[in-house]
Amino acid sequence: MQPDERPWASSYAPGVPLDIEVPEESLVDLLEASAERFADHTALDFFGATTSYAELADQVARAAEGLRRLGVIAGDRVALVLPNCPQHVVAFYAALRLGAVVVEHNPLYTEEEMTFQLGDHRPTVVVAWDKVAPMVRRIVEPLGARTVLAVSLPAALPRLKRLALRLPVARAAATRAAMTGPAPGIPRWEKLLRHPAIDPAHPRPTSADVALLQYTGGTTGRPKAAVLTHRNLRANAAQGRAWMPGLVDGGEVVYAVLPLFHAYGLTLCLTFSMSIGATLVLMPRFDVDQVLETMSRRPATFLPAVPPVYERLAVAARDRGVALSSIRYAISGAMSLPPDVAALWESVAGGLLVEGYGMTETSPVALGNPAGDSRRIGSIGVPFPSTEVRVVDRHDPSQDVPTGHEGELLLRGPQVFAGYWERPAETAEVVLADGWIRTGDVVVMSEDGFFTIVDRIKELIITGGFNVYPSEVEHALRELPGIVDAAVVGLASEHGDEEVVAVVVLAAGHELDEDAIRSGCREHVAAYKVPRRVYAVDALPVSMIGKVLRRQVRDELLARLAGSSPAT
């Protein structure tokens, strides 16, 4: 697309280029460049324990040597099953240094979910939070994985905090139990750092090599892994940098409240932040008190998050009189940003809250609102630099629709992935000729190039920024005793979020027990996928041929909730 075909060009914030030159370097080069440029600058802050860029690069080099001695070679998968912690950053770059492929996993996944994903990519080494390391070892030993390494969060804490966790008081014991667990017989990650640094002559990855497998849900219930190269991820970090010319290299403080195992948190925190020499303040989970406490110690300047986080933070800061004015950039993604949340945040913090758009398959950011006055509430913004877009007929992607008409959004650019891991059929459904990919989102482009999502083609529920595929939850429900049939739908909840809601058909003689259903479901799927509400019906609406009519399920449920239909 030529510059004159990009109607959004005039809406770009001052100084933002229409195109960028993608650095032809790997993510390893990215980190080493920052380590050279900002050697003494604090790279990581974990509850006050700091790691400089030079120390980070040194730890990465040692861990890479440790992984090499464990037999990891280029192309091997190294699975990370970790919350946000310094070891996560080190393990990520150490695996990449060897040319290995990082695979991120949510440590709160159930054994069933983890078994599928680990079996799908067959890792050589797994670096796992010690609380889940025994489960991970149980899964991967039969798969032939060489080693599971256990990571202790307390090991990364400042010494005093670590000692405090050992105090014989209930609160210390509870905190300790939340942070760490026994992993008998599993080698500790920290031992890897005792190795010398890897030989600088050891082969390095190139920008074309695969860096990451990132799992994303599937319509039929089984997740698939998006294959992202160093170039994809490096490009997205560079696009982000170009988007915000006002950022100060070496001068930003980024709060990592988003999980690093999620595509959004990974790019904003693990690669983009490292590329600008920022200080990354790592938080294992979003805790309002911890964030506000940290604001007084090391104020954030940049906060990537999801709307519920901004809302809770703004309310708490306002109530307690904590200033958020240091946060110059607040980038919201993973779900739509409700206007009232944007207004609340901006009234409390003073800075702008702007919405971006992306998907795992685009590393992830593809569109964003300009970080300036031209940002438009309710819109996902305009295409990032070097990102091409088309709006096409939702049934025939070869046909572009006129400006102002609804159509499926197609994307192409250096951040766009090449396909799914070992899934040619699913890749073919998404990746079109000439590198265009289908987003599954129906949009309208305005005359001046701003995009608004108006519909979703994918069967997807977005809750708290996480994607939930109904089939996966339905599968779990149908396996529970007393449930004959189940359908899962997303219902709008507060502030633009969606709620996972189940409609079930009970076997004869069974009563609806929501708690039992939820706890049964929790054994199969992660907590955020578990239905918040469960309703019983006599039968699901099915077509004559037996197909479940999910839209009708949703319509009937909405009618029932509105009181226009008697409850069963």
Binding site: T219, T220, G221, R222, R394, H395, E429, D455, R456, I457, K458, E459, L460, S471, E472, E474, H475, R478, E479, V484, D485, A487, S543, M544, I545, G546, K547, V548, L549, R550, R551, R554
Partner: protein, 200 residues
């Protein structure tokens, strides 16, 4: 009473009516389907067929308003191996319209099984049916293509990843050999179905 068919890989197949005695075979066949195939068939994650579903899918076949056919591939030793099922059910409130479903066990997909079944189903369709009205997943392009080859087709979005599809069938009656539009399109081994075998 069966029809013979030749699949796109040249293998022989027999198609005959599904009967109440086939209940266990249907149950077992379903267990062999991949999650994706099950999903495309029922538009939901269905781990197993329930007794209620089997009642409907097997016991309620009447050969008049509810026609169901099974295809068996004949192997080199002359043994029959079940490969797929196709069915058509007339709408009670719209006598000229019917819903349709074709299911092929994964290991037999892309060999023309669905095309052969659908061709026979068109010949055996309930008298007076001139339209197919069904719902498919929007990402199931091959199935949509197969439906389109049956006649003029309209597809409308019906919620996330769903399309409501209406196909106007050719004017001639089901007993007319010229109505064999699907067989003509796909069972010739020299011209295997472009749509392959997908699930409706």
């Amino acid at each position: 009473m069966f029809a013979e068919a030749r699949l796109s890989d040249g293998s022989r197949a027999l198609i005959w009516d599904l009967l109440p005695g086939d209940r266990e075979a249907v149950r077992e066949g379903f267990e062999k389907l991949s999650e994706e195939t099950r999903f495309h068939r029922f538009l939901a994650a269905v781990p197993h067929l329930t007794e209620t579903m089997l009642d409907h899918l097997v016991d309620e076949i009447d050969g008049v308003d509810h026609v169901a056919l099974a295809l068996v591939v004949v192997d080199a030793a002359g043994n029959g191996v079940p490969a797929g099922v196709a069915r058509m059910i007339r709408y009670s409130d719209e006598r000229d319209a019917a819903d349709v479903a074709v299911t092929v066990i994964d290991e037999f997909q892309r060999r023309g099984v669905a095309t052969a079944l659908l061709g026979e189903l068109m010949r055996r369709r309930p008298a007076g049916v001139t339209r197919l009205v069904t719902t498919v997943t929007a990402d199931n392009a091959a199935s949509l293509a197969m439906l389109r080859r049956l006649g003029p087709t309209v597809a409308e979005p019906a919620g996330p990843n769903r399309l409501d599809v209406v196909v106007e069938l050719p004017d001639h009656g089901p007993d007319d050999p010229e109505s064999d539009v699907v067989a003509a399109a796909g069972t010739d081994p020299e011209h295997p179905s472009a749509a392959g075998d997908e699930i409706l």
